[in-house]
Symmetry: C2
Subunit: 178 residues, 2 copies
């Protein structure tokens, strides 16, 4: 699987069930959400803006998507909603890895340049480092309609949160890529 | 990482925190357990017995371990305890994959022959098929003292359970392999 196939396979509407394991106090937290993963053309204004903010030449982008979520965490009645734009920029010499640019739709929030790599087992590993914080996320498809995501957050040398998200496709599968 | 390194890295005592996502009713179940992963020599009587039951020539075994657990599920006060012996038998032409033999210490329970493969990202994928049931589990180390496990169970064509286990080492790390 390459990153374009991973994006296209992810397109659609998903029911997302998330559980976080706090590694210090050993308690759990839970959330459920609807997620919409929408492919954007790489020459879309939002894609170009993220590339420019990350000092990446826009024609190098392989694919772009807008991810929107709408859900709740635990008993908290307050809805959690938001969206982010992601752009993949494969390494020219090895397209199974590259940059993953992310820009959340939050004022004053700057874009983040992460790194992706796709293993021989079709597991995508995303790494994002910011100052003292590192997040490593692994994603794969158990089937075309069931996606798994596991992330681990590290603050300094301390791992403080591991979280697991199972995502079930709510709509129809996207059309096969031409 | 090869399967021997994966076994040796797994040796020790772990606190295991498990969450299952029921994919049909979309509810969660939880468990906590202590797990002891003990390396056995491949010429140990238990290793030889598992190989013979699975019709595998015992000298082909690369490594063997006994895994013992002791924990609880949800509010259920009843302790869940048990043990299993696992034996890895690499494919001769490609040692990054092979058979994984498993025998639970339950009377009348026969041994199971699963398949393992290790990706370029050091994620171990275990597949076990029995009649109408398939389990696919992915395991990796986020750090030497933090192990991740994600499994998906499939009954016929239906995926019915996804579960996530984060495991934190309780004892000291095992000595480096000679």
């Amino acid at each position: 699987m390459n990153i374009e196939e991973f994006f296209h396979q992810s397109a659609g509407k998903w029911f997302s069930h998330r559980t976080g394991h706090n590694l210090e106090c050993k308690q759990s937290e839970h959330g459920k959400s609807e997620i919409v993963f929408e492919i954007l053309p790489t020459d879309h204004l939002e894609a170009i803006a993220v590339c420019q903010e990350c000092k990446v030449d826009p024609p190098l982008a392989a694919c772009c998507a807008k991810i929107t979520w709408n859900g709740t965490m635990d008993a908290d009645e307050k809805k959690q909603t938001g969206s982010t734009v992601v752009v993949s920029v494969p390494d020219p010499e090895n397209r199974s890895s590259g940059k993953l640019l992310q820009k959340m739709a939050v004022p004053q929030k700057t874009a983040v340049v992460g790194h992706y790599s796709i293993g021989s087992d079709d597991v995508v590993t995303l790494t994002v480092k910011r100052e003292n914080f590192t997040s490593i996320e692994r994603l794969w498809f158990a089937s075309p309609n069931l996606r798994m995501r596991v992330s681990v957050n590290q603050q300094g040398d301390e791992f403080n949160l591991a979280s697991f998200t199972s995502e079930i496709r709510m709509g129809v599968a996207p059309p096969a890529k031409a």
